[in-house]
């Protein structure tokens, strides 16, 4: 079933968004997210056992204003869904020396890609490496299609990741942290707690110690990535995980790591694991 048909069904069934609003206060609000009147999103869960300092995890959605939240409750209002539609065309388009498209191998994304997003980043046995979804997409392009790699944070890439993510919305994030990924996970954890730059701030300073608090005009969330790619009203486009990491590290007045770098792959694995139990939400909407 196409996205468009789904949307119409949702509209007919619902005729609007489902938001039970509670008065705004400093912490995560009490709102519930149901997308298209159909996909119930878990935005609050018991923290996974590996988290030492946090009891409850929240999606970033719970820290946004009602006006921003409501945009995500219906695909018609979610500007990130345009990226999903763009990617659907790319999914079916033949590219590269092998005369293949994504669809040649994977058929209908709405069937074959269900359940993929929740377990990434994950270990690839053949390559003996931890792979993000972006790395896997580029591996298919290069080695199966004979096509050019996409830039890690390029529009084509973030759109494709949004498509693959969108079909798993509502499924719980469940990345593995042990076995062959354990070392990478530890590296990511170390990065999460490292205070960088002239401001000497770590991810944890803002997103673990101060979520719910205002830092100037910004309401700090837990910095979860279950909602990625994120359509940001601030830059009016879909943003991938590493682009967001880069922005946050830059804001500590530090030299950032590059999108796609081993450091950011490790950090992504670790941050994803802090969201184990929340629903996949992307493409989400944030300010």
């Amino acid at each position: 079933m196409s996205v468009v048909v789904k949307r119409v069904t949702a509209m007919l069934a619902l005729g609007g968004a489902v938001l039970a609003s509670a008065p705004a206060f400093a912490d995560a609000d009490e709102d519930n997210l149901v997308i298209n009147g159909d996909i119930a999103i878990v935005t609050e869960a018991k923290a996974p056992a590996h988290m030492e300092y946090v009891d409850t995890i929240y999606s970033g959605w719970r820290f946004r204003s009602d006006e921003t939240q409501v945009m995500q409750a219906d695909d018609f209002d979610n500007p990130g869904m345009i990226g999903v539609e763009n990617a659907m065309e790319k999914w079916a388009a033949v590219d590269g020396s092998e005369g293949k498209s994504c669809a040649s191998c994977h058929g209908d994304a709405e069937e074959s890609m269900v359940g993929v997003r929740p377990v990434y980043p994950k270990w690839n046995e053949e390559a003996q490496e931890v792979r993000t979804l972006e790395m896997q997409v580029n591996d298919c392009r290069e080695n199966r299609m004979g096509a050019e790699k996409w830039g890690y944070t390029s529009g084509s890439m973030v759109d494709m990741v949004a498509l693959i993510t969108s079909v798993s919305r509502g499924m719980p994030v469940s990345v593995a942290i042990d076995g062959p990924v354990a070392e990478t996970w530890e590296q990511g954890k170390e990065l999460y707690y490292s205070r960088t730059g002239q401001l000497e701030l770590s991810c944890a300073n803002c997103h673990e110690d101060n979520y719910g608090n205002m830092i100037r005009a910004d309401h700090l969330s837990q910095g979860q990535i279950n909602g990625f790619p994120v359509y940001r009203l601030k830059n009016t486009k879909l943003n991938g995980v590493h682009a967001r990491f880069k922005g946050c590290v830059r804001d500590t007045m530090a030299e950032t790591y590059s999108p796609g770098s081993a450091e950011f792959v490790a950090l992504e694995l670790y941050v994803a694991s802090r969201g184990n139990g929340l629903s996949v939400e992307g493409p989400s909407v944030r300010n």
């Binding site: 000497e200 608090n213 830092i215 100037r216 950032t256």
Partner: protein
């Protein structure tokens, strides 16, 4: 607008070089509690100038602190304690130490060190995300520290 993630961004402006009669960041003497007894410059602090430093564009102290006296400015942060009445709680030397390098008094605090140029992990070239080009400037000049301290001393209850 571009990808400026935080209003916080651009809050701290690189400060000028230390001139004659000023104590360089590496030469500052903290006591056992993290206070600095001696002023960093020979020119007394100006509370009006210090008040301006509290806002975005220089110190951006209110990114993290609420200050009732600055209520004409929007969006005060909630990270650190309110600075209302701070002069009743701390001496001039304490306040100078806290602003210059709060980590000497509050180990592990989130508050940045405003008069420190070394010992950072991956220091950047301002907010560009690129590596620092050379020696860093402190976040505030010695004179700005004195100005902020003079302003904080006006915050009595």
């Amino acid at each position: 607008m571009k990808v400026l993630a935080l209003t916080f961004v651009g809050g701290f402006v690189a400060a000028g070089l230390a001139g004659a009669g000023t104590v360089a960041p590496g030469d500052v003497v903290f006591d056992d509690y993290g206070a600095i007894a001696e002023p960093l410059t020979t020119t007394p602090g100006d509370p009006e100038k210090g008040r301006a430093v509290m806002n975005k564009g220089s110190g951006n102290c209110i990114a993290c602190h609420q200050v009732t006296d600055l209520s004409e400015l929007a969006f005060h942060g909630e990270i650190g304690p309110s600075l209302d009445g701070v002069a009743d709680r701390w001496t001039e030397a304490d306040l100078r130490g806290i602003v210059a390098n709060a980590k000497m008094m509050f180990p592990g605090t989130m508050m940045p060190a405003f008069y420190k140029v070394e010992g950072f992990t991956r220091p950047g070239d301002g907010y560009t995300g690129k590596a620092a080009k050379g020696p860093l400037e402190p976040l505030l000049t010695a004179q700005q520290i004195e100005d902020v301290v003079a302003y904080l001393l006006t915050l009595q209850e």
